[in-house]
Every structure is written in C-alpha cells, then in structure tokens.
C-alpha cells in the first residue's frame, strides 16, 4: 500500500523528535539532517531503524549516506513501501 508523503513526513518528524528533541515543526522536507538539524551518524542510524519499524520498509545501510535531507528520506520511504 502506498504511503502519502505528508504521513511519512509527520511520522519521520515524530521519530526525529523522539530521538533528538528537535521540534516536529522543524523537520521539513528541505532540511539537511547534518547541516540543518545537527543529527550525528549514531542518531541517524537509530532514526533509520525506527523508520523501518514504523513504515515497514527496509533501508539498506549503503543507502543511508544518500539520505542527506528529510525529503530524501521521505521519498525513499514512499518509494520503498
């Protein structure tokens, strides 16, 4: 079943908030995980695994480095679902 982009963004924002304390409103499609949100690689791996659980997708380790922005992650999840 296809996931709506807005639903994935909202779910991802909750995961980011839970892991880092960053406000959900700040998690927007154009935000860069490292440069804008100051998320380190360890938190990123936790976020990835939590996304896998929440959205029922598989995000391979080699793909994680390509997910530079929130939009990259949302699009990957929408397409993988």
């Amino acid at each position: 079943m296809a996931l709506a982009q807005a639903d994935v963004l909202a779910g991802l924002a909750e995961i980011v908030n839970d892991e880092t304390g960053i406000a959900t409103e700040a998690v927007q499609l154009d935000k860069h995980f490292t440069n804008d949100l100051d998320i380190d690689s360890i938190s990123m791996m936790t976020i990835v695994v939590n996304c896998e659980d929440k959205f029922g997708v598989k995000i391979p380790d080699e793909e994680v480095k390509n997910l530079e922005t929130v939009g990259d992650a949302v699009n990957f999840i929408v397409n993988a679902a």
């Binding site: 839970d18 892991e19 880092t20 304390g21 360890i42 791996m45 936790t46 695994v49």
Partner: protein, 413 residues
Amino acid sequence: MTEKIVVTGVGATTPLGGDVKTTWKNLLAGKSGISTLEKDWIAQYEVPVTFAGQAAVAAAEILTPQEIKRLDPSSQFALIAAREAWADAGSPEVVPERLAVEFSTGIGGVWTLLDAFDTLKERGPRRVLPMTVPMLMPNGPAAAIGMDLAARGGVRTAVSACASSTEAIANAITRLQSGEIDVVVAGGCEAAIHALPISAFAAMHALSKRNDEPAKASRPYDVNRDGFVMGEGGAALVLETESHAKARGAKIYAELAGGAVTSDAYHITAPDPEGSGAARAVLATLAMAGAQIEDVAHINAHATSTPVGDIAEYKALRRVFGDHLDKIAITATKSSTGHLLGAAGAVEAIFTILALHEGVIPPTINLDDQDPEIVLDVVTSPRKLPDGDLLAISNSFGFGGHNAVVAFRTYKG
C-alpha cells in the same frame, strides 16, 4: 610547600534525596533509603533479595528525554550530581585545559549491556542501539561530565569496585598538585539495581536477605547484620587549589588534606583478616595530611554490614589507632543509604565534609545490639563535633583487595 586543596562544591543523588541538602537532612533525621522493589523482574526471575536503596528522585524527573535516551542510568546519576556540585561551587570560571574529571563507577553500564543483549536475542543485531558501546563503557559517566563542563585537562575513571570513587578523589590530589590543573570534578556513580547483579551478589552471600524488613537490613556493627544492601546514585565534589578558589572568592567547605590507595594481594573478594593493607592506606593518608593519629576526630567507616567486612575494618583501625580509636567518633552511613558501590566513597566523602563544615556527625541507624567484637564509639544520633582544627577520614574498600582512604580537615581560611 605544596598547595592546599579545598572542596568548593558538592552534589549528590542518593536513596535519601535527589540532592545534597535533602540527603543530608534525611541522614541526620535517621531515615532509611531502603525499600522493597516494586518491579516485575523480581517475581519473573525469582530474585532472592527483593529490596534495595533506589534513588529517591528518578533521573527522568531531572534530565531531558534525550539525555535519558543517550546515557546509561549510571551516567545519568553522574551528570545530575556533577551539575549540582558545579552550580554549588558557583560555576567556576576555569581554563578548560586546566579542568579535569576523575569520575568512577564500580560496575559500569550494566543496564545498557543487558538490555542490549535482550534486544539482540529478541530482535536481532540491526535493532541493537548504536549508542550501546559509549553507554556501557565504564568511562562513560566521566566522559559525559567532561563534555557537559568542557573539561579538557583529562578525564579519567579509576575502577576499583567499591573503593572506586574514594580512589577518584585521591587521584585528584596528584592532578591538582602537579600545577597543571586548577579544578577537578571527582566522584562516582552506580546504577546496578538489576536482576543480574542482585542475583550475582546474592550468589556470593554478600547481600542481606532481610526481605521482610528492608529498612532494618543495613545494620553495620550490629550482631544480627547479614550482608550489605545495594544502593544506587551518584556523588560529585568540586576540588580546587586553594589559590584558585581564593582568587575567585569561592565558598570553601573543607580542605582535602590527603588520600592514599593500597592493595591487599590476599584474596579477590575477602578482606585481609589482619587489615594490614587497609591500615597502610590510613597511615599513608595521615602522612600526606601531615597529621598524627591523635589528630583524627571522626571516621566515616566503609562498614557495609557484612559479617566479615565490618570486623576486618575494625581490626585495621585498631591496628592504626590503638587506644586513640576509643576517642574517635565513628559513623557507618551505609546503614541509611545502603551501599552505592562505585558511588559510595564519594557519597561518604560528602558526609565527612559536611560533618566538619556543619559541626555534626550523622548517625548510624539500626545499631540495636553492637557486636561485642567491635569496640568502637559508634554515633547513633547526631553528635556535635568540638570546635577547632579537626581531621576526619573516610574509608572505602573493594573486591580485588582495593583500599582507599581520604582525609578532610576543617578549613579556617
């Protein structure tokens, strides 16, 4: 002449209170921090000891959810205690390269390790948290404090079981006297109230099994003592060269007059029955303090409430002090707090400092029938200390044959 080292800040979270003030008030009131554990895992694993001294204020009430998520419970206690001590010291302006941390744990991140193993077994390696290693490593608490306070003068962790945090304080002396460091945050933490460590300590018959009377279970020197009671928490001291403290007009609690560490090389867990290693640690501490045995007015004893340990310490003290021991007011505050393992020494150092600073010795509770083999003047209700230049020591001993002792002196400016 070597420079004096002074105590300018104290912080603690213990079974008696979430800060030093509450802990001290409840200690003087003769309260017990020990209670029955209301945990599912007690029944699940049929844990033979069903009580302990849990932190009076949960770390989650103080730290942010993200701090809780990224720090093992031991590091959470460490950070809470260190921040309180730092604020109490007036948040000193110090060059980061001249600020060091000496912060211990006895066991380390045991909750993180065991939770991670459960996750591995139940959900596979990909679900093991990437923060697992930094959370379980024993230097994690010291590193967390170092990052929080921007300490760049060296962050170290002495690990010597229940002597750990007294050793950390002793180690701070050499750092401060090197001339390279102005301020050290020293102390220890422990968070091991978990089914496995409790079962393991119980398996070696180290723990009290007084399940029906938890508040009476920790009873150092009593004839009916049957083992120690596990506690958890953290405690931190801000230690400073006298010149640095005076230059910034800091409040000074006491002088850290000496500290020493020795080892028994006798048995991995049993204390040397002659107490010679412990005695050497006391004597070396007094030598560093430039003190005579007659100068010691008060001792906060290690006294964990085990049948053999309390006697071994008594013999060591008698060996050092001879008849003067009868004139020393002794307290065993683990009767109230339980045994905080790697945090115990720092908690008791704070009690020793406050005894000198406030002029009152905190009581030993549950001493209904003193062991006739232990001939000590044990303080059982708050007792005023005389005025004057007083020296007090705090002892800690740990599995592995570790002996650590520190001495504090009233500070007169």
